[in-house]
Each structure stands twice: as C-alpha cells, then as structure tokens.
Symmetry: C2
C-alpha cells in the first residue's frame, strides 16, 4: 500500500472521533500587508497543540489488536511524543517515549500527563535510536516513527484534506522537518486540486530539504541551531521521494524572519504558534518575491498556511530573551 | 425603543458583513480540570481583537446619513476606541478618539491604523469627558459611548446570540466593566434560553458591580489597580438596571487568579487573551464552589465563557514582569 488520497481519506475517517476539525482563520490586516488572501489552518488549536495528533492517532488505531497490545514506542523531543502518548492512552495500550534529557519541560509534562513511560537519553541521534531499540527489545512495543511511517504521513495529510475541502486555495504552504506533514499534505492537496501549488518552507539553518530538492537527491546536512526546533530533523528517506514528486518548491527563511513572523501572528491573529509554525508565513512576510511559483508571483493568490503547532514555553519567548541581551 | 432580542437580532443583521462569526473552542484538558464542559466564544479572534467591534459597528451603521456625516467621537483607553475608528472607516466618516496620554502603545497604533483623529488627554475621567465634549462641540460628531448606548449594548449582545445559537449552554459567563457586553449578552441569552444562568465576573479590585448587585442599587467605587484594565470602569447608569433584571450572579476574583487563568488559557488553548478576558475562567478555575447558582453548583454544567479580547502588549506579560521582580 502506498500513500494516496484513499489512504488519507481512510485515515480521516479513523481519527475523526479523536481530533478537532480545526478552524481556518483569516486576517484582513495580514492580507493587506502581504497583498495576498491568506487562510490559516489552525493546527495549533489541535489536540495536544499540534497536527502531530493526527498522524500518531492514525498509526495507533491502524494496528491490529495483537500488534497493539504490547504498546507503541518512539523517540521524540517534541510534539510527536505527546501525540503518541495520547493516542496510546485513547486506545488503552502502553506508550514508551524516548526523550533527550534536555527536552523542554513543558513537553515532558505533556507526555507524562497521558501516562506514558518516559525513557530519557543523551541528546543525540545515536543515543535516541539506541534507547528506543532497547525499549522495543524489552517490551515488544511497535515503533511509530514520527515521519518514516506511511500511516503517520497519511494522518498528517488529513490536515490538508480538511483545508482544501473548507477553503479554495491556489497555494498551500507548510513547514518541512522530517517531511511527514509535507508528504501527506502534498498528496492530499494535489490529488484533490491538481493545479494547487504546494510550497514547503524551512529555516535557512536547517535547509537540507531545499538543498535536496535542488540537487534532486536526498542530502543530509550538518545541524545548525534554529529556533524552529521542530524542523531540525533531516527530511526522511521515505518522505523525500514524495516531496520530489508532489512539491512545487522549497523556500528558506532566516532566524530573524521566523521570530518576527511568530510575533506578527501572535499580535495580529491572537493565537499562539511555535517558531516552527511561523516559518511559512515568514517566507511570505519577509521576501514574497522569492516565492517564484508561476509568473505572477504571490500577489492576489489565495494562500493556505498550515499553522503546525502552538507549544511554546511562555517563560522563554524569543523577543523577551532578545530584550535581555 | 429598549434593549430586547429583536433589537439584538437587527444589530446582528446590520453588522454581519463587517465582523467574524467567531469560533467556539473546547478543551478536554480544562473540562477535566474543572469538572465542567466549557465552551469558549473567541471574541479575541474578532476583528480588532475584541468583541467591541460588534457594538461600535452597530452604533455607527445605525446612524442616519445626515447624523453620520460629521463623524463619531468617543473617549476610550482601550478596544472601543479601535472598534469605533474601524467602524467609522468602514462607513467612510471621521472618527475622533480621545485617549489618555498613558494608553498602551499597541492600542494607540491600532486606532491610528484606521486613520482616526486621536486627541490625547490627561488620564482621568474629568479630562477625558472634557476633551470629548470639546471635540464634539468643534466637529458636531456624534458621541458613541462605549457602553451607555443601547445600539452599542445591542451590538455586543450579538456575541451571546451567536453563542447560544451555536452551543447548548446551561450557563453563560462574561466579564463586567461598564456592562455593555453583559447587558446585551444577558438579554440575548435569557430571551432565547430563559433557563440559562447568566454569571458576570469581575476583579475583586474593581468590584463595583458585585457591590451594586448585592445592594440593589448602583454603587460607584473608588478605583484600585487591576491588571484587567478593561474592567476598571464602573457599571453604567443605563446598563445596571438591565444587569439587575437579567443577571443571576456577579462573582469576583483576585489579581493572582486572573494572571493564572490568563496563562492557563494561553498554554492550554493556544490563544492569546488579555487579562480582562481571563476573569470568568479565573472564577471557575480558582474557586468553583463560590459559583452558587442552583444547588448542584458548577459540576457537570455546560458553561459558555465569552473570551472578550486578545490585545496584549507582548513586551509586558504579567508572568515575565513577575519574574523580573
């Protein structure tokens, strides 16, 4: 079975009782400022505060009873861990979440609140994978990877399914980290509206997908710091071919543009988005001319942006730390 | 003409092209924490970031052409000024907004952005009223008071009209300052659902409505500081009789409870609310037993809360200043 519209529709049927159909917000102020018509799909208002609830729930409820029984496991410093913990609790099975010791406290508390077993590890990929393999060997839990898993991709794609059903869009944008959301969203959007432009946005400091997209092959880059912590991951081996096939462009933005976009969304839209979620809007707000799909550029286009999450440490806001420098 | 359901319905028809029908959000986490079923009517996501867009728009579009031509005027340190500036711009007439010199910069910028004429005055009631009277004498503009105006009350009441149409509620709660929203909301809610409980919430530091409600007559209190700056006003002479007739109870909350409720809403709901908007939830979160409507108290009730606004200075968040103390 491969990732296609039927699979995403099936995922939507499966997870519907457990997720919000999130609202789509608009802002005439931001439309005026950007000379576009913007639609914001508010996955920050999703269960657990992020679209990740969709993919994890679909993956957990796609398991047959026997496979599900020993539980599920993953390594995640972020929203996928919380999402998997919640999905497992809903299904009544154990969840084992491997988290780096330096994870944000708010994310540790969120995973704990769903009763999951947390295994702390050193904050590097090798330690995460080793700890996760150890947990799986011990418990027989099923690994639910945060993006290298077609059920997860299909689940994430339901955000775009709802989006193109509820709004008429010329363009759909989302951030890209591992590519789970992007691949699912691209398949859903292009299958329903073949003429839609799918644009991914990425921090310049974690631009492996943009590099890979230009090179025509997956390039793994060294990690630089980005405030968009959800997007530090390299694009996946399973997701990249889907990105290559369905995505029209991958654009990059600076750290300053991300912080500025995040603050603009907070101030104008009155909603809380995490830095990763602000990345696509940063691309529009900061340098619309770089968005070169079609000859007419972005002006006048109906642009849908998936706001991916809203889990932020309110004691460590980027503009507050900046002021204290 | 007095304030009744027909008038609120007419207001809704009149303002509908100019306002958002705001979403109603729910949170299973907050339901669990409060042992209620909560519904949040998100007027923080309304145009200009506050329900005040409703009343001002209704008042401006209720004027006949001749009266409207010289424009409208008001004194306001807050969202009503922005709302009136916007409504006047929509109608193509001048707006004169008297603001105290110490108004939040974000609110001054908002009024300016709609092209209104701003008249600064000293930050006291006498100076505000004198400045406003001066502007009106000079310009022949019509005074649109922020709550002592039935068209304003009717407009604010449309928030409750939508709320009871879209959600089945046992209780509806909103904050009370001057009482414009409370009076309109109470009339709308009680007229449509006579058995609904209407509960107002107020900072203990600005508890004139609670005192007046208990005393059975309007009491004007001395102003103490409250972080809920939208609620420092005393309840109005025109609004209080409506409050007396339609409201079931007025409860008060501490400053700490307001800040804590505000932060909980930000963290859990991922939306930005200003301190005033957090006051009803503060009453539920802080001491539910004080909410003594009916013998069963709040447990299990379907409680609707109007989140009144989201205009906050992101450089001056209460928990950040607390940390710097």
């Amino acid at each position: 079975m491969s990732l296609d519209l039927d699979r995403i529709r099936a995922a939507h049927q499966r997870i519907r009782p457990y997720i919000h159909r999130t609202p789509i917000l608009t802002s005439s102020r931001l439309d005026d400022a950007t000379q576009t018509k913007l639609f914001f799909k508010c996955e920050n208002l999703q269960k657990i505060g992020a679209f990740k609830a969709r993919g994890a729930t679909n993956a957990v409820f796609s398991l047959d009873d026997e496979t599900a029984k020993p539980g599920v496991a993953t390594h995640s410093s972020g929203n996928h861990g919380t999402a998997l913990a919640r999905a497992a609790k809903l299904r009544g099975i154990p969840a084992h979440i491997v988290m780096p010791r330096n994870s944000a406290k708010v994310k540790v508390r969120a995973v704990e609140s769903f009763g999951a077993d947390i295994v702390f590890c050193e904050p590097n990929d090798a330690a995460r994978e080793a700890a996760c393999a150890g947990v799986i060997a011990r418990t027989k839990a099923t690994l639910i990877h945060s993006f290298e898993n077609e059920d997860v991709m299909a689940g994430q794609g339901t955000a775009a399914l709802e989006f193109v059903e509820d709004a008429e869009l010329d363009v759909i944008m989302c951030p890209v980290g591992g590519g789970g959301l992007l691949s699912g969203a691209a398949v859903a959007a292009k299958s329903i509206r073949p003429k839609i432009n799918v644009i991914a946005a990425e921090p310049a400091n974690a631009d492996d997908t943009a590099q890979s997209f230009r090179a025509g092959k997956r390039i793994v880059t060294e990690k630089k710091f980005t405030i968009a912590d959800g997007l530090r991951t390299n694009v996946g081996e399973q997701t990249f071919p889907i990105v290559q096939r369905y995505v029209d462009d991958v654009v990059t933005v600076t750290e300053d543009a991300i912080i500025s976009a995040m603050r603009t969304i907070w101030e104008t839209m009155k909603i809380i988005v995490e830095p990763s979620a602000a990345v696509p809007f940063a691309a529009i707000a900061d340098r619309p001319s770089s968005l070169g799909f079609g000859s007419a550029g972005m002006a006048g286009k109906r642009v849908g942006i998936i706001l991916t999450g809203g889990n932020v440490d309110l004691d460590a806001l980027p503009w507050v730390s900046n002021r204290q420098d």
